[in-house]
């Protein structure tokens, strides 16, 4: 063993280790200032492939059959009041873009169709996509963003799709109304977008923390949902360019963070009572879909079994070779 002390620099220079830490700190500062993050978030990526035909807003358009859906796990929201949700275990998401419009297709299982919110105790099924306004390396808090990091939220609601004119019909109204001027619909005359008939099916919202959700001042997100066989499938679509600085601009080759939320109206889900995901990566690809094909599910599982078994056998064999041979018998330096 060597008992050498760290080499000392001349008296007026700091020790080399101090110098080294200064170097590390400086590098870190430069990375922070330039916003260059050397690390990669490598897990779950949803890839928005470029497609040759427009999927439009049809959740069952044939093009969606060719794009693999990624399963994004959801959990109940337990961070702020009102907590709840968690009854929808996952959403299956696929993405595409065509003619500089981004399409996201969100699918989830819901055994009950709730598209009315006319009675005081009725709540609608809904889904939302959340994307940080600023494309960058530091991701804001996944729950509604934070003060220094706004998020753009697109919320699709089944009751809005059903149409406002369908609402309030459950109460057997037979009254004659003295006035139906907008004045007597205060929410509407106050400019509450939610209360405005004929407004968009998908609400385009921004938030920077709990309780700060507001309609985006500009920009329209299109959307359409379809319910069949206990499945909701909802397509969201928005052109690439951001209408303002609170909404992301999409570009081919860039990556974005997206999070998903689903409300099950049957369970009284609304607001924070929802099933939510963490952020996952969304890559807007510059590759055209079709260079790969979707897998058959049967082939998939047997493929898995083979791969796993092979991996396990290889690992056990390797471990036995390395471990069974006693340490002493092996040379000090291990060779490959």
């Amino acid at each position: 063993m060597l008992t050498r002390r760290p080499p000392r620099a001349p008296g007026w220079l700091p020790a080399r280790r101090t110098l080294f830490f200064a170097f590390v700190l400086l590098t870190a500062l430069i990375l922070r200032v330039t916003d260059v993050n050397p690390a990669v978030a490598q897990s779950q990526s949803i890839v928005a492939w470029r497609v040759d035909e427009s999927p439009d807003l049809d959740p069952d358009a044939p093009i969606w059959d060719e794009i693999q859906r990624m399963s994004v796990p959801l959990t109940s929201q337990q961070v702020t009041v009102p907590a709840g949700g968690g009854t929808v275990p996952s959403v299956r998401v696929s993405a595409a873009h065509h003619d500089r419009i981004l399409y996201l297709n969100v699918e989830w299982t819901d055994n009950t169709l709730n598209e009315a919110s006319g009675a005081p105790e009725e709540f609608t099924d809904a889904a939302a996509i959340q994307i940080p306004a600023e494309h960058g390396s530091s991701v804001p808090a996944v729950c509604m963003g934070q003060a220094d990091g706004a998020v753009n939220i697109w919320q699709w609601r089944a009751d809005r799709q059903k149409g406002l004119d369908q609402l309030g019909k459950g109460a057997d109204f037979v009254d004659v109304y003295p006035s139906t001027d907008e004045l007597f619909f205060p929410a509407q005359s106050a400019g509450n977008a939610l209360a405005t008939p004929g407004a968009d099916v998908v609400q385009n919202l921004v938030a920077s923390g709990f309780g700060t959700l507001e309609p985006a001042s500009v920009g329209v997100v299109a959307g359409q949902g379809r319910f069949s066989d206990s499945q909701w499938r909802v397509v969201f679509a928005r052109p690439f360019p951001a209408p303002d600085e609170f909404q992301p601009t999409f570009e081919e080759g860039l990556e974005f963070d997206v999070a998903f939320a689903v409300w099950d109206g049957h369970r009284g889900d609304r607001d924070g009572q929802k099933s939510v995901s963490s952020f996952v990566r969304l890559k807007v690809s510059d590759t055209t879909a079709g260079s790969f094909t979707a897998a058959g599910s049967e082939g998939g599982s047997s493929g898995w079994l083979i791969l796993l078994s092979a991996g396990l056998v290889a690992f056990v064999a390797y471990a036995v070779v390395v471990l069974v041979i006693p340490k002493r018998e092996r040379p000090e330096e291990e060779s490959a």
Binding site: Y177, P186, N192
Partner: protein
């Protein structure tokens, strides 16, 4: 979470926000003994504010028959039950009333709607009534507990019912406000009126769930929740009738039975009322203690006070108005000269009375109450506006006018 003082409970309690500093607080006294359930107040409100599509089930003012009635159905029993489930057997008062504005009814040792809530799924314990529960506001109207063949007599009737007129209590610690995840509900600093910001509301109905009095209501045609607005344009003096002077809300002004007196009381930073015995409401609530809050144990410090019905069994009333019931009924039954005079000011004017005085008059008679002799004097109560100008004066004895025969034109 902040610690705030709730003088109804005689103790501090947990609330989401600090006590707001208000100049005045919207408040009123309802004398249940006089209510005849004519529903004029209800219709005055309805025809002013809630007559449009989507507001069919919405009655910001309602009059229900207790003990069975309720709008929405059994709202109070359901909330009491939730509290009892959360704190079994613990919803009790340490009821040695202290003569003090910070604890006039003793101390409540149970849990408020805020304290019983988990603070994660709910800010306040509550439930969301279903549509059918809002549909029959007059269910069980005039239903007595029974009809004793022998009739009934004071002090407690064997078979009984009474009418309970209700509006939003514009609570000092509103559960609706605490429950709104968007902070779309606010309490005005100038008069304590609690309002739903119709631009921010997104119809989550957490306020409907949380309000123990169920006075926030969902409107399907706008997808938002609406509630009693305390006729704030009238409070602000915007009704042309009073030419810019503060005016009582429609439901108060329309009261045929003269059960209601409305006012704006001065409050301290901790939510207690500023000592002011010349204010009619302060006088009834704190000096005479004849008017009591509705279900004070809910913990929201409601601001509509009730003179309890004197014929109703006391245990029922104590559950509804707290431990101050016996004293309130005693003082109402054998009123002081000043209180008797003040009771005449109810509904004497539409303008808001800020202070009152009593000018003494001659003794006009004696009545026997429960074996005691009570003297009556023809005193005159005078109501003043904010700057001390006289608004109205009323004597205890109703003046009698004889019509001169010559004027008969028939």
């Amino acid at each position: 979470m902040a610690q705030v003082h709730n003088w109804h409970l005689g103790r501090d309690m947990r609330y989401r926000f600090e006590t707001g500093k208000q100049e005045r607080q919207f408040a009123a006294v309802f004398n249940i003994n006089r209510c005849i359930a004519c529903q004029t107040c209800t219709m005055a409100c309805k025809s002013t504010w809630t007559h449009s599509p989507g507001q069919e089930l919405m009655w910001w003012n309602n009059v229900e028959t207790k003990p069975y009635g309720g709008y929405p159905d059994h709202w109070d029993v359901k909330t009491l039950e939730l509290l009892d489930e959360a704190n079994p057997g613990g919803q009790v008062w340490d009821a040695d009333p202290v003569e003090d504005v910070s604890a006039p009814y003793g101390r409540f040792d149970g849990q408020t709607v805020f304290e019983a809530a988990d603070g994660l799924t709910q800010e306040a314990v509550g439930y969301l009534p279903a549509e059918h529960e809002w549909k029959a506001p007059n269910r069980f109207e005039d239903h007595a507990t029974k009809f004793p063949a022998a009739g009934v007599s004071l002090p407690e009737h064997d078979g009984w019912f009474f009418y309970l007129a209700r509006i939003c209590n514009h609570c000092t610690y509103p559960a609706c406000l605490a429950a709104c995840p968007r902070n779309a509900i606010y309490k005005r600093p100038e008069d304590g009126i609690v309002l739903v910001d119709q631009e921010r509301c997104r119809g989550y109905r957490k306020c409907v769930e949380a309000c123990p009095y169920k006075k926030t209501m969902y409107r399907p045609t706008t997808k938002t929740t609406e509630k009693c607005i305390g006729c704030y344009p009238r409070i602000e003096g915007k009704d042309p009738l009073t030419e810019g002077l503060p005016m009582e809300p429609r439901c108060m002004a329309a009261c045929v039975g003269k059960i209601r007196m409305h006012g704006l009381v001065k409050v301290e930073a901790d939510g207690t009322w500023t000592d002011d015995p010349t204010h009619p409401l302060y006088y009834m609530v704190h000096e005479e203690q004849v008017a009591l809050p509705l279900y004070p144990q809910f913990g929201t410090q409601p601001n509509i006070y009730y003179i309890p019905p004197r014929w109703v069994p006391r245990d029922y009333l104590r559950q509804m108005f707290g431990p101050g019931v016996d004293r309130a009924i005693e003082r109402y039954t054998r009123p002081s000269r000043r209180l008797l005079a003040l009771l005449q000011l109810f509904r004497a004017s539409q303008r808001i009375i800020y202070s009152f005085d009593v000018e003494e008059g001659p003794k006009v008679g004696e009545i026997t109450v429960g074996g005691d002799v009570v003297e009556m004097f023809n005193d005159t109560a005078v109501g003043f506006d904010e700057s001390g100008g006289e608004i109205v004066r009323v004597a205890v004895e109703e003046p009698i006018f004889e019509r001169p025969g010559k004027l008969n034109s028939i």
